[in-house]
Amino acid sequence: MDKRTTEREAVAELRDGMTIGIGGWGSRRKPMSVVREILRSELRDLTLVTYGGPDAGLLCKTGKVSRIIYGFVSLDSIPLEPHFRAVRQAGSVEAVELDEGMLQWGLYAATLRLPFLPTRAGLGSDVLEINERWIKPVTSPYADGEELVAMPAIELDAAFVHLNRADARGNAQYLGPDPYFDDLFCGAAKRRFVSCEQIVETGDLVKGGVPQTLLLNRSQVDGVIEAPHGAHFTECPPDYGRDEAFQREYATTAKDPDHWDRFYAKYIDTVDEAEYQKRVREA
């Protein structure tokens, strides 16, 4: 089955109020071409689940996302995401903050179709107080009788991840050092989209990396988007590193609404992805 699609078609499947998951980690291997397409859409009131980077800053700042489930939001080389900070400090987004491992567990529980998975992470901290409406304790039924956190499944309407290579049927490969939790985002989602640097023939996948780099098999993927440089300005090793100069400019725009407006008009509002990439090359 040929699952090739585009950012536009994938985003057209989304509806206001949906819960979406975005893979990667911080400012690393984020499906930014999809994020940009969401920014250009009329979507509102999304819930975003993420190990957050600029995806969180951009989607919260522009009001696409009204609720965010996250362990942190960081640009890595810029530890605090300034746009996300501004949104949080204005109180304009509902922040569902978790321990990083609890977020993994919630996605894994959804992947396994379990209502929850037990963990110690969260016990004694304010994570449980902040989230008391939906995260409950559970007592071990065994002799230990230990009280644990019952981390609820985090089910996603759609997941978007960016990998290095994929074939047209959705077998997808990461060639960098860390898979992050992209397979769990796909596992937790009803609709699963992989953007990739390059679509290759199935037989060519293992020419680029050992079979252990094949993170997703085609049963875990509904749509494949060829998006060269699609993770820009986040890193996507070994294909490219982070565009630090661009990221610095993005971060700087948080200090000045006019600068932000110019940045947004130049890179998001009036252009499609091809034009974005052209403007980045010419910048």
Binding site: G71, R85, D99, E100, G101, R120, L123
Partner: protein, 253 residues
């Protein structure tokens, strides 16, 4: 008399926090913690595991600064999912920075002000809740003041001893080993696990510590002085591990 700077005294104090850890993953955030972990690994704790900061375990000790080009020796694969497995399993000792910490070691680096609408959004919870309930944790404070050592933290990201006690056996892996600041070393070796002055850095007085701390510390009658680095440690710090002086930018001389 040692000519060690305050930053170098802090570095060996952090290194000493890793004593006895053996084959644990040493994770250290902040320049001086990162340097202290490297120093421990290079001297008295050669079995510590360390990552390259990305996804590999590195067998060689990477200098924190400097121009030395060193081909990494990779001894293992440690992507984030494996870090989570390992830390829930307990084989890790983390040194985290504290934006706020209270007398029982409750820690905050998530945000300042109410969580629903903070005055300042900081790092978020990150891994602090899971870290503190699963394996030994120490804290690093480069700017000891009443803004950091507070009566009550705004949000509890890392679990302190009073909260851990209420959890009973579920908190049996909880351990806050120490807090290293630019003024001294602090531990929780008191009957009710309140923070105690364990040692004063050379040149720091008890009065200064008391003045800069926003709660009542347990203070022993004769607080010892934090040890100074020996000649070999100073050589490693200055010439090998941090020739670029990142430590001095964190704790100026």
């Amino acid at each position: 008399m040692s000519d060690a700077t305050r930053a170098e005294v802090c570095t060996t104090a952090v290194a000493d926090a890793f004593r006895g850890d053996g084959e644990r993953l040493a994770s250290a955030f902040g320049a001086i913690p990162a340097l202290g972990a490297r120093l421990a690994r290079s001297t008295f704790e050669p079995d510590l595991l360390m990552t390259d900061g990305v996804a590999y375990l590195r067998d060689d000790v990477a200098p924190l600064t400097g121009d030395a080009v060193q081909e990494p020796i990779v001894e293992g694969w440690m992507p984030f999912r494996r870090v989570f497995d390992l830390l829930w399993n307990g084989r890790r000792h983390v040194v985290m920075t504290a934006t706020q910490i209270d007398r029982y070691g409750n820690h905050n680096f998530a945000c300042i002000g109410p969580h629903a609408k903070p005055k300042a959004q900081l790092l978020g919870m990150r891994g602090a809740p899971g870290n503190t309930i699963c394996h030994p944790t120490s804290y690093w404070v480069p700017n000891h003041s009443t803004r950091v050592f507070v009566e009550q933290v705004d949000v509890v990201s890392g679990v302190g001893y009073d909260r851990a006690r209420k959890l009973g056996s579920a908190a049996r892996f909880h351990e806050i080993r120490c807090v290293v600041s630019n003024l001294g070393v602090f531990d929780f070796d008191t009957p009710d696990r309140r923070m105690r002055l364990a040692s004063l850095h050379p040149g720091v007085s008890v009065d200064e510590v008391v003045e800069q701390t926003g709660f009542e510390l347990a203070i022993p009658d004769d607080a010892p002085t934090t040890r100074t680095p020996d000649a070999e440690e100073l050589r490693l710090i200055r010439e090998v591990l941090d020739p670029g002086g990142a430590r001095d930018r964190e704790v100026p001389g």
